[in-house]
Amino acid sequence: MQTLNIKIGGQAGQGLVSVGTILLRAATKEGWHLFAHQDYESRIRGGHNFFQIRLADGPVASWENDIDVLVALDETTITRELEEVRPGGVVIYDPDVLGSEAKKLVEQPNCIGLPFARVAEELGQPKIMANAAAAGAVWALLSEEITVLHETLALLFGDKGDKIVSGNQQVASAGFQRVRNIVGAKPRPEKPRYPGPRLVLKGNDALPLGALAAGVKFMSAYPMTPSTGVTEFIAQYGAEAKVVMEQAEDEISAINMTIGASFAGVRAMTATSGGGFALMTEALSLAGSAEIPVVVVNAMRPGPSTGLPTRTEQGDLRYAVAMSFGDFPRAVLAPGDVEEAFYLMAHAFNLAEEYQMPVVVLSDQHLADSYVTVPPFDLSRIEIRRGRVVSGAKAGPDYLRYRYIKDGISQRLYPGFGEGLVVSAGDEHGEDGHLIEDAETRRKMMEKRMAKQRLVEENALGPVLCGAEDPEIMLIGFGSTKGAIAEAVEILNSRGLRAQGVHLPQVFPLPKSLEQFLQQPAQKFIVESNYSGQLEDLIAARFAVRPTGSIRRYDGRPMNAKYILDRLPGGECHGR
C-alpha cells in the first residue's frame, strides 16, 4: 500500500483543524482513502496540537509515525516534530513565526518557507485565510491541479458568501503556486482511484448518526471531552428529526432524565466520559432493577480522575462492565471504527429495548476524533426492534409490568397507552411493580431479570476476524485498536507469518464463540490501551485462558501497527 502522511502542527486556536478539514475533504474528492487523527491539549489557546492525515491508495484504518509532509504553523512544530519527517519528506513552515534556533533547523533543502498569514495579507485578504495558504501549499505536493481544492473551499465556505469563497481560493492558489515554483513537477504519489461516492467522518459523527438512524427521540447530557461531539451533534441536527436534546445540570441528572424519557416510551440516550460515567452508575442500577432500556455512550479518556482529558485510553472497560452495584443484566459494546460505531449504536437501542436493560457503548478519544473514508452506510441494514410492548386493549386493568415469564422479558406498556397502570421501582418489587419484602418474590424477581442476561449472552456479537484462518499468532483487541491490529496482522502476513486479528465489538457478555478461537494453538497477544490488562482479565474470568503475552499502551496516545509490532517477539521493544 502506498501511503503519505501529512502532519499539521500548531497552537490551539491557530486553525490547524481548518487546514486539516479542507485537506481531508479535498483529498477524498481527489480519490484518496484516508485516516486522520487529532492530538490536542486541554486548552483553548496555545500549547501544541496536531492534525495528522494519512493518505493511501487503499483502505486505511490507522496511523503511521513517519511523516512525509510536515506543515508547521508555529515554532514548536519544528522543534518537536522535525525528526519525525522521513528522509525525502517535505517541511512547509512559516518563517515569520520561527526564532533563530528553529530557523537553523529548517536550513535544509526539503524545507519550504511560506509566510501563510503574509500571503493572505499581501492579497488584501484577512489573516485568518492563512489556513487556505497552508492548504494550497500542501495541495501542490498532492495534485497537478488546484481545481479540487477550489471546489472544496467553495463547499466549505459557501454559506459565508462569494467573497469569502473567492478570497480563500485566491490565497490557496498563492500557496499552491509558491510551493509549485520550488518543487516543480516532481513525481507525486500515483493518484489513486476510489470508485463511487464515500463518506468522510469521525466517530463522533457516526455514533449520533447511528442513534438517529435508530430513531432516538431523547437525549440528555452534560458536556465532557471527548464525548461532547455526540451531544452537540444531536443538539444541532436533532431538531430536524424532532429529537429533544436537553443539557443537564450534571451527569446524574442526564442519566435520570434519560431513564424518565425511556420509561415514558421513547428511545433515549446519554453520552459522557469516565468521570461523568461514574456519576451515572447509580442510575444504571435503577435501570437494571426497574428494567428500563437506556443507552449510554462512554467516550473513554485516560484516568484516573481527570487524567488526560483530551487523550485516549481504554481504561474504563472493567468499570463499564461492572457498571454499578448489584446484579442486573447489561451489555457493553465497543465499536472499532466509524462504520461499526454507526451500526453498533443502532444495535445498542435494539439490545436495550429488547432486553429492557442498560447498554453501554464504549468509544474513546481516538475513535471519537479520527476521520476515515468509508463506503456510504447501508441504511437498510438498520432494523428497529422495540421489543415486547403492549398497548390499548392488550394492556387492560390486569396488566402487570413485571409478569413472570420464562425468558424474563415481560411486556412493556408506555404509561397512558392503555387502561393498565405501569408501576416501576428500583426497590425490589412484585409482578405489579409495588414494593415487596418477602424472600420468595425477591428470589423469583432476581431470577426473572437475570434470565435475560443468558439471552443477551447467547445473542452476543461474535468476534470480527482478519488475516489468516489457521494462525500461528493472534492479536486480540476491542474498540479503537481494531485498525492498528488489522494493519499489524497484514504486515506480519506480508512477512510470511500466519497472523490473525480478533476484534471484539461486544465486550460484555463476551460471545461464547470466542472460546474456539482462544483454543487455537497459536501464540496469543492481547492488545489494549490500558495499564492493567482489563480485556485480558475479562477473557480470563470468562474462559480461563491467559494469552502468551500482552501489548498495552497507557501514555494517552493511540495504538498503531508499529507500536504493536515493536512489542511482539523479535520487535525492538519486546520484553520492555
Binding site: 459523527d205 432524565m257 424518565g260 416510551g265 428497529i384 416501576s424
Partner: protein, 288 residues
C-alpha cells in the same frame, strides 16, 4: 390499585400510625378526583424515603426512582410524554439534600410538573437524623449537640429562581392541602408544594400541635398579591410564632416544552420514529 376509575388510597402502607403522610395521600387523591383525571393519565415519580413510597398507595402510574433523583426523572418523562400529568414526590432529605442541585435546575427549566415535598424536617426512613430543614439546635443521632447548619428555605429559594408556582400547605389541613395541590397541578409550569408534615416518631418539636398553633392561610389574607415577588420572598422567611401556608407566588412564564416549539407539538412518544433524516444528513458527509 389497579382500577382506572378514580383515585383510591390503599389501606396498607409502611408508614407509622398517625404519620402526616396519610393526610398528603388522601388530599392528593381528592385533588385528582376533583380534577376528573384517570389514574392511567397520571404518573407519579418519587424518590426514596417515607415520602417516596406514596405512589405505591394511590392509583396511577409509578416510577419510584433513586434517593434525590425524582426531578430529573420526572423531567425526562414529561418531555417524552407531555400528555401525562406528572407529579414528583419526595421528602425534604430526598429533595433538598441529596437532590438539591436538581431542585435548583428543575425550577430554572420550568418543566410542567408538580413537585410535592413532604417536609417533616427530619430523616424518617433512616430513623431520625437531621435534615436540611431541621430547626437549629435540634438534637438528633447525627447531631448530638444540636443542629448547627442554617435551615434550607425551599420557598425563598424557589421564589429567588422565579419558580412559577410556590406554595406551602399542611398535612393536618386536608381541605387546604387538596385545594393547593389542585391549583399546583393546574398550573402550567413547575409548581412546588412544600407540605408541613409532622413526623410522629422522630420529630418531637414540629408536631401537629406545633403547627396547629402557628399556621395561617395566606390565601385568605386580604391584599396579599401572589404575583408580587418581593412580598412573596419576604413572607417566605416568616417562621416562628406564625407560619404562613398557601400560595406564596404564582406567575406564568414559558415552560420547557414551549422552548422546544414544534418538536413537542405532538408528544415525543406519539411521534413516528423518523430515521429518514439520516439519509439527508449523510449527504453532508458524502464526497463524490
Amino acid at each position: 390499585m389497579a382500577g382506572n376509575q378514580g383515585f383510591v388510597v390503599s389501606r396498607e402502607t409502611a408508614w407509622c400510625p398517625g404519620c402526616g403522610n396519610f393526610g398528603i395521600v388522601r388530599a392528593l387523591a381528592k385533588a385528582l378526583n376533583e380534577l376528573g383525571l384517570k389514574p392511567s393519565e397520571v404518573l407519579y415519580v418519587s424518590g426514596i424515603g417515607q415520602a417516596g413510597k406514596l405512589p405505591h398507595y394511590i392509583s396511577g402510574n409509578v416510577l419510584n426512582t433513586l434517593h434525590g433523583r425524582t426531578l430529573p426523572t420526572a423531567t425526562g418523562a414529561k418531555l417524552a410524554n407531555g400528555d401525562l400529568t406528572v407529579i414528583a414526590i419526595g421528602g425534604d432529605g430526598d429533595g433538598y439534600a441529596e437532590g438539591g442541585n436538581h431542585f435548583l435546575h428543575a425550577i430554572r427549566k420550568n418543566v410542567n410538573i408538580t413537585y410535592i415535598v413532604h417536609d417533616n424536617q427530619v430523616f424518617g426512613l433512616t430513623k431520625g437524623q437531621a435534615s436540611p430543614r431541621s430547626d437549629q439546635g435540634m438534637v438528633t443521632a447525627t447531631t448530638p449537640t444540636g443542629v448547627y447548619n442554617e435551615p434550607f428555605n425551599p420557598l425563598a429559594t424557589a421564589i429567588t429562581l422565579n419558580a412559577g408556582f410556590v406554595a406551602r400547605s399542611y398535612a393536618g389541613d386536608q381541605e387546604h392541602l387538596a385545594r393547593t395541590l389542585q391549583a399546583a397541578i393546574q398550573h402550567e409550569g413547575f409548581a412546588l408544594v412544600d407540605v408541613l408534615q409532622p413526623c410522629v416518631t422522630f420529630n418531637r418539636i414540629n408536631t401537629y400541635q406545633y403547627f396547629r398553633e402557628r399556621v395561617y392561610d395566606l390565601d385568605q389574607e386580604e391584599g396579599y398579591d401572589r404575583t408580587d415577588r418581593q412580598a412573596a420572598w419576604a413572607r417566605s422567611w416568616e417562621w416562628g410564632e406564625r407560619i404562613p401556608i398557601g400560595i406564596f407566588y404564582q406567575i406564568q412564564r414559558p415552560t420547557l416544552a414551549d422552548n422546544y416549539g414544534e418538536i413537542l407539538t405532538t408528544p415525543l412518544v406519539k411521534q413516528e420514529l423518523s430515521p429518514g433524516i439520516v439519509e439527508e444528513l449523510l449527504r453532508e458527509f458524502q464526497i463524490g
